[in-house]
């Protein structure tokens, strides 16, 4: 990861969708390890507070730029804004935005389902392609994105979200294949349950829930080690291997 960085400069990372709790934890972890950051998010005030927090605590560069996942036409601008803020092309980009809605709502209201697909999948394709082009030309950089274990197998309880994340996972697979030849690493991160608003108040087995800080440490490690795929925490690999191994005639009868 640091190979492309000149001696004087700290490594740098752009985080898309930076106001989520996961993204915040990741940003803190990178900053603590001496990375410069640019945070991109829709809620400008919240984003600026988070950026200030990182500057105060860690003394690294941390900029805040606007980003709206659904404003596809503005996605070109993210790269420009990031470069202007940082003074250089970032060494990597981490996609953290996502959107989960109640499955029943997604079934009844196509508007909701479409929003889930657009944010989790379409927006990712739109914005990551721009960075893919730049990194490919430079023969440097990495692209990491938060997909989900929900994308590994469709289940009745959240299959619209799962389908969008499955699309993202497949997209990243293809992108990895393409960018490998340019030396650009693509990391698919699949978090299980992380203690954030997404599952807050839901009945989830506590043993399976990771803190955002733990998830952030695992994400940092996956990026540093140039992994292709990373379950976060790692034991989800085991759970998902079993979930995926169940034969469909059995799986379809389960209430999952």
């Amino acid at each position: 990861v640091t190979a492309s960085v000149s001696m004087q400069q700290r490594p740098s990372l752009l985080i898309l969708g930076a106001t989520s709790t996961m993204a915040r934890a990741v940003a803190h972890y990178f900053a603590r390890n001496g990375w410069d950051l640019v945070l991109a998010a829709k809620d400008a005030r919240e984003n600026e507070r988070n950026a200030a927090d990182i500057r105060v605590r860690y003394g690294v560069h941390c900029g805040a730029i606007p980003f709206d996942a659904l404003a596809f036409e503005n996605h070109d601008k993210v790269l420009e804004d990031c470069q202007a803020d940082l003074g250089r092309v970032p060494d990597g980009v981490l996609l953290c935005f996502g959107y989960l809605t109640d499955q029943a709502e997604a079934q009844q209201d196509f508007g909701k389902a479409r929003r889930v697909i657009d944010i989790n999948f379409t927006a990712a394709v739109s914005v990551l392609e721009r960075f893919a082009a730049v990194f490919e030309a430079r023969h440097a950089g990495f692209i990491a994105a938060l997909s989900s274990v929900a994308g590994d197998r469709g289940r009745q309880s959240n299959y619209v979200y799962g389908a969008a994340k499955a699309g993202l996972t497949a997209y990243l697979q293809g992108l990895r294949n393409r960018l490998f030849h340019a030396g650009v690493n693509v990391i698919t991160i699949k978090p299980g349950f992380v203690d954030t608003k997404m599952i807050y108040g839901m009945k989830v087995p506590t043993l399976l829930v990771a803190t955002p800080e733990k998830a952030a440490a695992d994400i940092f490690r996956a990026i540093q080690k140039r992994k292709d795929n990373a379950y976060v925490p790692r034991f989800w690999w085991f759970i998902m291997t079993i979930v995926c191994a169940l034969p469909e005639p059995i799986f379809k009868r389960l209430k999952l």
Partner: protein, 454 residues
Amino acid sequence: MSEPFSVQDLSGWGRLSTVPCHVYRPEKRRALQTILTDAPHTLLARGLGRSYGDQAVNANGGIVLFERLNRMTAFDPTTGLLECEAGVSLAEIIRTFLPRGFFLPVVPGTAYITVGGAIANDIHGKNHHIHGAFSSCVESLELLTPDGGRLHCSRNEHADVFWATVGGCGLTGMILCATLRLQRVESAWIDVSYYRCRDLDEVFSRMAEHDEHYTYSVAWIDAVGRGKNLGRSVLMLGRHAPASSLPAHMASDPYRVPRRRRPAVPMNMPEFLLSRPSLCIFNSLYYYAHPTADRRVPIPTYFFPLDAIGHWNRLYGKRGFIQYQFVVPKEAYGIIRSTLELVSKEARGSFLAVLKAMGPAGGGMLSFPKPGYTLAMDLPNGNGLHEFLRKLDSLVVRNGGRIYLAKDITCTPEALREMYPRLSEFQAVCARLDPNRRLQSDLSRRLRLREETL
């Protein structure tokens, strides 16, 4: 979209009783606004839950956790001014700024409290006789008022709201952020002079003799001691170690102190731990382990001894405990002796009892500190604890003292009104900011803090 909550049984740090609350945990400022506007019940902000009694619980109402609203938004190293959100813990501030040579001017006995909680209780520390309470380092604060508005207040701006919020138990609004003035320190070490004192008279006279010469002063008292051992204690006087006094290996990085491991109490401890024989053994060990001597100790060891043990409240078993704390004017120091006599006679004492002299009161309408002596004791639950505390309360009231609301669970509305003469000023501010009584706690209802007449 409404904000998610989870229904949890919450209690104070003393774990005397639990009550069901709708617990919200906003992760963004906007979510907090939504909760305040939309939640279908009364609300109360809660920090790290270190208040002992029922101050930070709201039975069948809403509780708003501030742990994710913890950003430090500005710091100026020339002035030491830190602007941070209410959910930032003192531990985070110390971890971030002690290595840069800054320390909080006032810290309590634990670093695991939030800035919001420190303000809402106007907490005090071992230097109250010199520096006053926490509010002395609060330059200004921003309040999310119950009507959803935001109010910037300080000593000069909405001063009445500022002084109602300081020590106001979270009832004037939710503190969004505060500007604190950190102080420069030359090292992360405290030079401590320990005085082992045979009895109360000795510790009182040592305090009178030394307090003004030391920034920090506190005495641990053996609350189990009886007869000639009544009030035997260890006075711990401290001041920041100047960098020039450090030996070479420490002077190279005066802010580095040995890391502490932090084992935790894994579960509720059995009750024999609190039996008189085991307490006598523990307290005697502690007493004899601290001979009169000078020592240099790291900041965390001096200020936060119990932070070295996670979940230390489990030591008191599943019945829980309360920490009872009161302050009485200096001339009523005899109450300290009567209280210790009562406590040891009924064998209620435990590991921890602390005595300290307090300086002048601050401006907080419901702030606890006032000039005199303050005694804090951990009292395990059981054996008619509530009746016993009522008895102590009346002793305190009769002698012009008051109890600390952060630790209270039994005080009556009548007694409270005698202890806190500025209550009506507080009520006037609350009536203006929160006419619909959107902010409530078990404590506010029990003490009828909002009722002008009983």
